[in-house]
Subunit: 179 residues, 2 copies
Amino acid sequence: MHKINYARYIVLGMLSCGPTTGYEVKRFVKEFMSYIWDISYGQIYPTLSLLERQGCATMNEEKTGGGRPKKVYQITDQGLTELQAWLRGPETKEYELFLKLCFGSLLTPDELIPKLEAYRRKREEELPIMEEWLKTMESGPVMGPNTPYYLLLTKFGFDYFHLEKEWCSQSIETLKKLE
Amino acid sequence: MHKINYARYIVLGMLSCGPTTGYEVKRFVKEFMSYIWDISYGQIYPTLSLLERQGCATMNEEKTGGGRPKKVYQITDQGLTELQAWLRGPETKEYELFLKLCFGSLLTPDELIPKLEAYRRKREEELPIMEEWLKTMESGPVMGPNTPYYLLLTKFGFDYFHLEKEWCSQSIETLKKLE
DNA sequence: AACAACATGTAATAAGTTACATGATTGG
DNA sequence: CCAATCATGTAACTTATTACATGTTGTT
């Protein structure tokens, strides 16, 4: 099991939306994905040139008057194939599904729905376990002086899992209508 | 601005709860913090021995019959001082506050409350911005074919920020009663 | 007999951050 | 004229993951 390189898929995904530059990738991620993803120039630029060397993207320089020329990257068939293989493959990390959803139009709703169902099922299994923890913590200082603080966090975790579960259900319904 | 080493503070925090071993740290994090934190043995054991070398912890070997002896680590005054300095200091990363809360008993409620208030304020400022995005995305395919998928994610983000905001308010009230 | 849990650790590798370096253009 | 934004990139560093290595004890 190898590590997943989020940066690579963020960049590849952005490229799949149309020709773009490193600067624009950063802007987009900051503006519309900042509450869940981040990416730094130190990842973007090396990733972009690696992608080019590997045949996943092509580059065109655009002269902009006096300034530094823009480097506009475009995804290739090979890049698209790799992106789709990742999108279709299994999620190995928490939240990987959220990133995949950003490029959801590259899959059909019925490829996405089972993934959302699996995610929901996982949360459904975890919720009663968290409820147990809550009861344990409420019944006594089982975790020493930090118990009241863990309790706050666990309450948050419980509500958070519940939110994810509900969101999955709603999203599944929305995707079914899109089909 | 330097990177924060979560692993170091997770281990230091666990040590502040009483003498413990690397194996136990892993177990605890997995059992009670897994929905938000993770830590691997590849981080735990080197961190533990670094902490010892730096005078933040002391180690005692406990022979357990035939098996490999347990290495029980205990936090020192220096380690506690470092932990508290971090707890009192500013949060530089998203979710750092959640980790600090795990060891909340080392601070007074009125040291924690302003931190929660600041976090809530941040979310209160971001919520109307996300509401704007939602309107923008609902009014047309502003982000190409991925728009319906971004919309799902942004809805989640909005509800999530709302949840965090509400949780802050409830936690602040709980902490006020603890005072 | 097999398997999970207890228990510690290292080496190779990968992923991500920060600080730095450079310079044009646009708006107030 | 100053600050922000546009625009690209590198080097040093830190942080984290994975796979491997080893062996015991308790449970089924």
